[in-house]
Amino acid sequence: MDIFIPALIVAVIGLVLGALLGMASKKFYVKVDERVEQVRAYCAGAGCGACGYASCDAFAEAVVKGEAPVNGCRPGGNEAAKAIAEVMGVNAEKTNPIVARVICQGSNATAKERYNYNGIPSCRVAAGIAGGPKQCRFSCIGLGDCMAKCAFGAIHMENNLCVIDEDKCTGCGACVEECPRNVIRLLPKEQSVYVHCRNTDKARMARDVCMTACIACARCKKACQYDAITVENGVATIDPEKCTRCGECAKVCPCKCIVPPEVVA
């Protein structure tokens, strides 16, 4: 019998505490917006930070507060935007899918080597040694820092040049930050025509280091009927707003640093 009394005492203490906890949870109840959880559920959950928030949870909270756009989740794409918009009771604007693109074509075949690099396989390290293993100081170094960083397996290396699979790329921008040379840029997915070079050197110098360097000859500018191309600082740029992706510029480019749309597809 002796065991029952202490058991009872502990049980009573437990019950009282339980009741107190129950009361406290009512009294100190903090209203959590249920939409936060719903929004969070529709996010891609990659934790990539492309939305500009520290985590998917933080993004969901910001959406509900009205600080973040409903279509802010890039990996989630249109579906996530639609679902989140429904939770928030607004119409989603169609998201403009963004992908990372390599602004360089300087593979082993086209770009000249400065030296044979056998060090630590990291672009960041190689970039610091005598200006990098390729002669062009704007080129992709090709040691795959971006590939290691990509959480979606969208990047692989071909001939010392990184290649991005646009179907797998979610546009999170992790590679853009990682690249020591800034050769990766986030561009609208539909903008398949762009200049694959960012060498701002003078024509002769650019051509000397790479066969596919933009020499700023402005032929593309003349070929463009829509006034979408500007040539500044020794490199051509295509304005995605004006470009109709007709491909005329690619036909005239002497260095093939604008790739025709059907090739890029």
């Binding site: 203490i13 505490l17 406290a24 949870s25 100190f28 903090v30």
Partner: protein, 194 residues
Amino acid sequence: MSNVTNILLFMVSCVLTHNFIFSRFLGCCPFLGVSKKVNTAASMGLAVTLVMTMASLITWCIYHFILIPLDVMYLQTCTFILVIAALVQVIEMFLKKTSPGLYKALGIYLPLITTNCAVLGVAVLNITEELNLGYAILNGLFGGLGFMLAIVLMAGVRERLETSKIPEPLKGFPLSLISASLMAVAFMGFGGLA
């Protein structure tokens, strides 16, 4: 000796000579687990201090007003655990409501303290050393501050270790334990104080 000197001495002894980590070896788990950065270590120390003070107060009352009259003192460990767990929950809810800033600063560390042995340790020590209520609360408060001092110092040391050249076999946990033991030896030096 006057009462005030006694209290002052008691405080010093709680923080330095009878430091929970370095001389009583209680609360070593969070001490090693959450001492990688000074910021988080300070949050953890703050949370432990808060909970230890509150736990000292509540468990002392429970022991003297419930367990002694009912003559079931042997239930102390069992009830203390129960009470501390509930207490941490209530404190968490209370902070969430009244001070979201502090709640965010303490973050995950508050619920983690539920099973911290330093908290149970202070509750049990208050009883075994037969302290009165005032001293029990002081024991909790300054024991917690001692814990905070230890964990923040340790975090400072570990932050330095991150960037120093360390022999391969000692990297990480081994060196943390060695530095902790060296700190414990250093704290033994306070032994003559009180």
